[in-house]
Amino acid sequence: MEGFIALYIFMLAAVTGYEIISKVPVILHTPLMSGSNFVHGIVLVGAMVAMGHAESTAQTVIGFIAVLLAAGNAVGGYVVTERMLEMFKPSEKKEGDK
């Protein structure tokens, strides 16, 4: 990828990340950290590519570890974030009250 285009992507992504978080109430800090932890689980995609064109046994083994760890990051991150967020409820008893 052309260097400057990559730099633009990095710059815009950084600004986006900053803007997204800047107005978040403290009560959501923990779920949000967990949610952003889930989002970098996208590393799974890279791990799959790395393993998919591994050439030696060593590369394949490390690629396998990469995929395994990345899947753990993605799945675990999703499960705990969803568990936390589904508990947040306002006072008024709305539909779906247990």
């Binding site: 990559a6 992507i9 990095f10 992504a13 990340g17 900053y18 997204i20 978080i21 978040v24 109430p25 403290v26 009560i27 959501l28 800090h29 923990t30 779920p31 949000l32 967990s34 949610g35 952003s36 932890n37 989002v39 689980g41 996208i42 590393v43 799974l44 995609v45 890279g46 799959m48 590519v49 790395a50 393993m51 998919g52 064109h53 050439e55 030696s56 590369q59 394949t60 490390i62 396998f64 990469a66 995929v67 395994l68 760890l69 990345a70 899947a71 753990g72 993605a74 799945v75 675990g76 991150g77 999703y78 499960v79 705990v80 936390m84 967020l85 947040f88 409820k89 306002p90 006072s91």
Partner: protein, 463 residues
Amino acid sequence: MEDFDLLNFVIQATYFIAALLFILGLKQMGSPMTARRGIVWAGVGMVMATLITYFHHEINHNYIWMTIAIGIGGAIAYVSGKKVAMTDMPQMIALYNGMGGGAAAAIAAVILLKQDEMPMTIQALAVIGAMIGTVAFSGSLVAYAKLQGLMRGVIRFPMQQFFNALVFVVALTIGLAIILNGTEYSMTLLAVFFVLALAFGVMVTVPIGGADMPVVISLFNALTGLAVGFEGYVLSNPAMMIAGIVVGSAGTLLTQLMAKAMNRPISNVLFSNFGDADGGEAEAVNGSMKEIDATDVAVMMAFAEKVVIIPGYGMAVAQAQHKVWEMTKQLQERGATVKFAIHPVAGRMPGHMNVLLAEAGVPYDIIYDLDEINEEFPTTDVVLVIGANDVVNPAARTDPNSPIYGMPILNADYAKNVIVVKRGKGTGFSGIENHLFFADNTRMLYGDGQDVANDLVTSLKEL
């Protein structure tokens, strides 16, 4: 012009949508009303990106092993994620984050093992990403071990920061050598590079105490994002670049917000030792602690108009939040206004206590944070402090020699009556004497949080 590659177009389009879903998902996670939907959107993006990657043109074998790895990693994480208690959430996030960092580092390892010819910028980002990912990996594992209680205490020795810096500089130098040597670096050098990066992650985390750990976990979270973004560039994968850098930047801001909430600049967290002798002796405390029993507290609260409950991590450890909520409902039925006041660092990290209260069924709109509630204490009849300590210590306002001086606190001491529920007479987590406990309007209610809450519920019923 090349032939139009439909498959590649579909793959790139899917990555694009996934990246968009991540950003929109994170945005929605910023408000309690839409947060749940946000994580689902991001989840959809993740599943789409993962499935389409099976058709990626650079993947030509290992499909079965790949699927097995996803199965194993996913299953372990799914089971552990479903089982983990809400109180243990911070270390679980640390663990999953460490896995992500490790994955980014392993990707870099695979690439660097190939010793393919590549432009220097790409090689440089591969190496830097490897370093950051590895540090996030080993550091997160230490953070996990510490919060999980697998590793007790903090390990400190003289010249520690010098050694840490030395390891860092050596690792960086080796990394630079790898970058500059193109394809001519030895495998041993590469191995040493990774080992040193692993060691640095451990060394930098080991001296940090449990109270500061959330800030560190958040920092490692940001670092993992950065590593993922860099490896995304190496693999020419815009979805990884965008998701990684968004998290890297959001995580950095989140780390700053947390550090600010705790009144601990990040540099202090990383490079100084909490409570180390700086300045004079802390002020001696005047007065004595006055005991009260549960029945009297129940009476006091039953006739109060406004009660503020200040929960701390101790309440969660005692699993008392359900009983506390039951008590709250009793008080509400008697016509009292009950509010929960949450200090940003109540629990193990900012927002953690909100999660624990939400788990017990406490609606989020009677939970207030520091800025919202501090003005209300003078008009509050009873403040019930349960399992919290430093966050209500007025020494943070009055005693410049106190290690916590300057930290924003909940001004519980301004209330008409303060009840402190506490296990014993010790000084607690940070070892700092709490002036609030000795105040004239404070009464101490000794006992385990769960038992005390139970007694209060029973006493209130009998009234």
